[in-house]
Symmetry: C2
Subunit: 382 residues, 2 copies
């Protein structure tokens, strides 16, 4: 289980297949985020229809509500949310470190208050792994410290802690988990500092994980810094293991990430953009609050085969957004997820065809990021 075969490469880009207990996962792949065991405003049958294969759920949120033991008793997170294809859970680290108010970090773990009711809880590497065992996703993640990426001393301390915690996660997974049911991935930290990334990668590679994530990006650095960090970090990871860039999901970031050897992505961006009344397309974003869409007969994106684009006009989508109707949110979520998933399918096909380089250049030449998209840091996780 969890064998990863690389079928084709194009420079650093790879087309692979990962075995999981819930079927083969073809990479590169984009995972829609189902923070609370639901991809916001989208039904599981619709995720299947658009070709989604991997869905992410959130350990912190499901531990808090409804509780990981309840999820376990309903057939793991797959059974609970009715998703029978592969799933991934993050470790809860990102959420715990993002909480305001009380949050005390020590070498053993993190003590924090629930964002729901203020009760005090404690996560350790062992606890995070135990929760993820209850949730039962195919891919689970090490509990890591994810600091802002730009302060060298803070990042250095986080790398050291993340390394120590990674070894404890491995031990806990060996002790109480099943490596044929769940693959535990390591997370490389180190911010934008090459020597810290190298140190983090070396420690993790020695722990021989079945897959590796690049963490601590898309949280405040520039796109150029993100690309430079990937250029430097990815070659330090084993070529025969899947690589996961956490929390990244703009169309150009996906193309740039695949070109740099990333296999797996997740991001709340498509559903968040939808909630704000905008569509993601292969040429850039469309804001449906803009009056120019009011009388347009065409679909959100010409050529798109999603339900929204094959059924409704831009004018109707604009009407729904303007009227505050949930169907607008639903249809834009469908489209945005479909757009990213079909883009990933096309990137994979181009790698297999040997046309990836041309496809990526052409895509990036025509993609027009909004001014906000171009200048601001990428969006992090929920």
């Amino acid at each position: 289980m969890f064998e990863f075969d690389i079928e084709a490469t194009s420079d650093l880009a790879r087309a692979g297949v990962l075995q999981t207990p819930h079927g083969l996962l073809h990479t590169p792949v984009f995972a829609p985020v189902g923070t609370q065991a639901t991809v916001k405003a989208v039904e599981p049958r619709e995720l299947r229809e658009m070709g989604a294969t991997l869905v992410l759920a959130n350990t912190y949120h499901l531990y808090m509500r409804p509780g990981d033991e309840l999820v376990r008793d309903f057939g793991d997170v797959h059974g609970f949310m009715a998703w029978d294809r592969p799933m991934l859970t993050d470790s809860g680290g990102f959420q715990v470190f993002s909480l305001g108010g009380l949050r005390k970090i020590d070498d053993e773990g993190v003590t924090f208050r629930s964002h729901l009711d203020g009760t005090v809880h404690r996560f350790t590497p062992e606890k995070s792994i135990q929760i993820q065992h209850n949730l039962g996703a195919d891919i689970i993640m090490c509990f890591d410290e994810c600091p802002p990426p730009l302060d060298r001393e803070v990042v250095r301390a986080a790398v050291n802690r993340t390394s120590a915690w990674a070894a404890r996660c491995v031990d806990e997974h060996a002790r109480s988990g099943d490596p044929n049911r769940q693959a535990l991935f390591g997370i490389v930290q180190g911010g934008i500092f090459p020597d810290l990334r190298a140190a983090s990668a070396e420690t993790l590679v020695n722990l021989n994980f079945p897959g590796y994530a690049v963490g601590g990006l898309a949280v405040g650095e520039t796109k150029a810094q993100m690309h430079a960090t990937l250029d430097q970090t990815v070659p330090l990871l084993p070529a025969n293991k899947p690589r996961y860039l956490m929390g990244v999901g703009s169309p150009e970031d996906l193309v740039n990430g695949v070109a740099r050897g990333i296999d797996i992505f997740d991001c709340v961006l498509p559903t968040r953009v939808a909630r704000n009344g905008a569509a993601m397309t292969r040429r850039g974003r469309l804001n449906f609050r803009n009056a120019k869409h009011a009388t347009e007969h065409g679909p959100i994106e010409a050529g798109c085969t999603c339900y929204a684009c094959t059924t409704f006009s831009r004018a109707y989508i604009r009407h729904l957004v303007r009227a505050g109707e949930l169907l607008g949110h639903q249809l834009l979520s469908l489209h945005n997820l479909h757009m990213l998933i079909s883009l990933m399918r096309d990137l994979r096909a181009a790698i297999l065809d040997g046309t990836f380089s041309a496809f990526a250049s052409d895509f990036l030449a025509h993609y027009r990021p909004t001014s906000k998209e171009a200048n601001a840091p990428p969006v992090g996780q929920d």
Copy 2:
């Protein structure tokens, strides 16, 4: 067009078929409400899947936004919202009379302020019909005055005005409409007063409409008053024309309405109940905020064939509702609409089978209204 054939009767209950430009409409039928050209949180393909045939849209709301001429230019409300089965528009009267603030009624029409931007508008019977011509629904409604049903003098004045306006609606429809494209229904008013209902019905029957609505109910009277009014009013309407009870849609009201000879119903109740985190079942409502559902493996309603019931546990629905996830609203909306539509299918089948009386008695014996449902007036329109 708009021929109405009665296939079977059981005492006052009828199973009929109405010809429309968008296909045959089998009655009795419940129409989901798509106030702003969308049934809240439900996709048109899902309405089709659950067997919905007739959808109501709202003249006032679509006139205000996006504008009835724009809707016309997108293939009428059918094309705009992608619903190719029969549709019905109300006249806008109920909404205009429900508006707070400036609202001046005279014998010619009503002057009011938009709830969106405060601009001043005027509806007359002629204007309402012209807007409904632009919207293009199969069944359109006379512009009526819909007062609170309990004040005799207010109701008497409203009946007189509604009668005069009905004649003007008929004239306007003859002048600028197409009776083979759109059937104009009259609306009987008169509150809970038998003599006023009789006067209203007599005037309207003389105008020879292709269908008749009973208006001014479900707006503050008791259930007993509603039943008594139906018992008295329905026999005054032509037996060979469809009868529409506006704004009524609780399960027991549907059974009681069909038993009293009603053919068509509409109500926002199923989507409103869903928005509040509750399910409608054949035994009564389930409030998913209630902790008792937290660990229940069964579906919302045993035996229900809707997507929500065939896919998810009550525990999951409860989790979604508690977490404020839109999918909870979506799935409860699907279920509640499916429940009413399948109930109507069963009522129709029972009329055709000759088992209606037993079916209705059995249903009402087992239905447990919530205390709120039993005592409060039925819910009106959006």
